[in-house]
């Protein structure tokens, strides 16, 4: 009986402190996408700028639609990189879309392009392919879809600047061998199949040697008359 009384007295004394503790904010994780995607930034950079790891791509500024397509492809296993397939396995489309929009809107400060060891002849070949293509061998100009400044086109075509050469050549290889696929018609598969190994090395070296333009935003939807139809770029 007396025990209960002591308790009651303690409660009364303690109540104001409990109240003040409850009204003081209990610490919570910041309700932001920035906090939510900390799982991604060690590889892609806090600003989506990429890292010095040759194979971890830049995300910042790429069209949100393109990034969403990639995240869904990783989740469903149509594009493979085990650590990312694993992280995204149980996420819904709506959330992936928000994550894509978040990285798409980031504008990290411009970085220095990596120093290239490619010869001037190789770089010149790369530049020609990108700006004019190679009609004899059926290669369309990359800039016809990826934009005159290679910053991509809304909603589905990514910019090609700010990427490392080994990442670019690996992606071209994956398109070519069908381990990376995009909605049909899969124009990049056709483009990649038209390139020789030397061409791949040349475009990769040239692209990696280019600075990211001050405004890396993609051009608006429908701006470019694309040389081929792409399933991921609806008209």
């Amino acid at each position: 009986m007396s025990g209960r009384l002591v308790c009651a007295v303690l409660m009364i004394v303690a109540l104001p402190t409990i109240w003040s503790a409850a009204s003081a904010q209990t610490p919570k994780a910041p309700d932001t996408l920035e906090a939510r995607v900390r799982a991604c930034t060690p590889c892609h950079g806090v600003q989506g700028e990429g890292t010095d790891n040759d194979y971890f791509p830049r995300l910042a500024g790429k069209p949100a639609g393109y990034l969403t397509n990639q995240l869904i492809a990783f989740r469903d296993g149509r594009r493979r990189y085990a650590p990312m397939n694993y992280l995204l396995e149980y996420q819904n489309d709506d959330y992936l879309q928000k994550i894509a929009a978040y990285f798409s809107a980031l504008r990290p400060p411009p970085q220095q392009p990596s120093v290239t060891e490619a010869s001037p002849a190789v770089l010149a070949r790369g530049k020609t392919l990108i700006t004019h293509g190679d009609q004899m061998h059926g290669v369309p100009a990359c800039s016809g879809c990826h934009g005159p400044k290679l910053t991509g086109m809304e909603p589905g075509i990514p910019g090609l600047v700010g990427l490392h050469a080994s990442y670019i050549s690996a992606q071209l290889g994956e398109f070519r061998y069908g381990t990376r696929t995009a909605p049909s018609p899969d124009c990049m598969q056709l483009v990649a199949a038209s390139l020789t190994e030397g061409d791949v090395a040349a475009v990769a070296a040239y692209l990696a040697s280019q600075p990211v333009p001050a405004d890396p935003s993609p051009v608006a939807r429908g701006t470019l008359a694309m040389p081929l139809a792409c399933g991921s770029e609806p008209h």
Binding site: A29, A35, T41, G77, P83, Y86
Partner: protein
Amino acid sequence: MLTDRLASWLFIVGMFFTGFGVPAIAAGADDHALVAKGEYLAKAGDCIACHTDPGGALFAGGRALPTPFGTIYSSNITPDAATGIGNWSADDFYQAMHEGRFPDGGLIYPVMPYASYTKVTRADSDALFAYLRSVPPVNRPNRPNDLQFPYNNRQLILGWRTLYFNVGEYQPDATKSAEWNRGAYLVQGLGHCAMCHSPINALGGTPESRAFQGGLIPMQNWYAPSLTSNKEAGLGEWSIDEIVGLLRTGVSHRGAVYGPMAEVTFNSLQYLSDADVRAMAIYLKSLAAGTPPGPESSGVSSSESSLLMSLGQTVYQARCVICHGSDGSGLPPDYPPLAGNPSIQMESAVNPIRMVLNGGFPPGTGGNPEPYGMPPFAQTLSDDEVAAVVTYIRAAWGNQGTAVSASQANALRKVPLD
């Protein structure tokens, strides 16, 4: 033997093949209710996890299920007459769920969790069957299993059945509440929780006496903790609301789900009604009631501690504090606490090592659609650093786990993620 059975089966199938799927049964109002009930029960049974290939058609099967004996491929359970179960009757279906036998009496591999589904009532089995009849038929022949000799002989299943399989619907316990019985029915039956949460022996069986005592899931290398001991994932100390929250949303103030449990939450538990998850929580809490809290093994010896713990603390301060806090309290439910979290102190250190190597995102659920993630550290930490930081979180802040070696960390690096 297997190929024989398959060959004759394919022959029979060939004779029935018409080129058209079975049209969905015309449905009246009662049928609609039955189909809706069956759809709900299919979620409770997580049929999709095994019978749908990622990115593939619903219930068309063909999902590879690696086992220590080789790979088994799940079957097409759409109502396609030629390649699915379109020619099955409700009796055939009940026999598969209840007795683990094909319509011709042949034995089904226990990867199909009929050791649990046998507890399902006939009425629920019929509702499930009505629902499966209503999904679009898909023509997709079953892929032959890829099992090593002698496991490719289905007769071996007889041995497993004799030892570990008890046919029988769930029998309510009259001394317990209706809610408790509903929870037990779901956990033991459709939920097939024991399939992972039990020590798996070499034969792939789960002795009923050790159900829910935890075990390493073969091939996946995740440890499914004991649900009967508060030292592991026993929920005796949790409030009912906390258990319901964890099961339905994937996060809680005590811990988050990850690995195979994230799949269960994502595909199954998040869709169950509040009443059903509450019933499961009441049953689960009772399973562990009265067992002592906290792990019994006591920490890391002092010689180990000096080296491992100081390296571990350095790594922790540099990499983990931002989310889990220097006192290990996290920012629950978004960043789970590590201090006092039994799931990282268990005898098996597989789960915390894999969390550090692979990172994780709790599943996106109705109750937690935009979860917070943890980065993988496999790419940035050495084996020594992984071992040190896991040892540190297992022993800091009064945690009672044991030390972890670099070779343990190294071995888990090689586990395929998918």
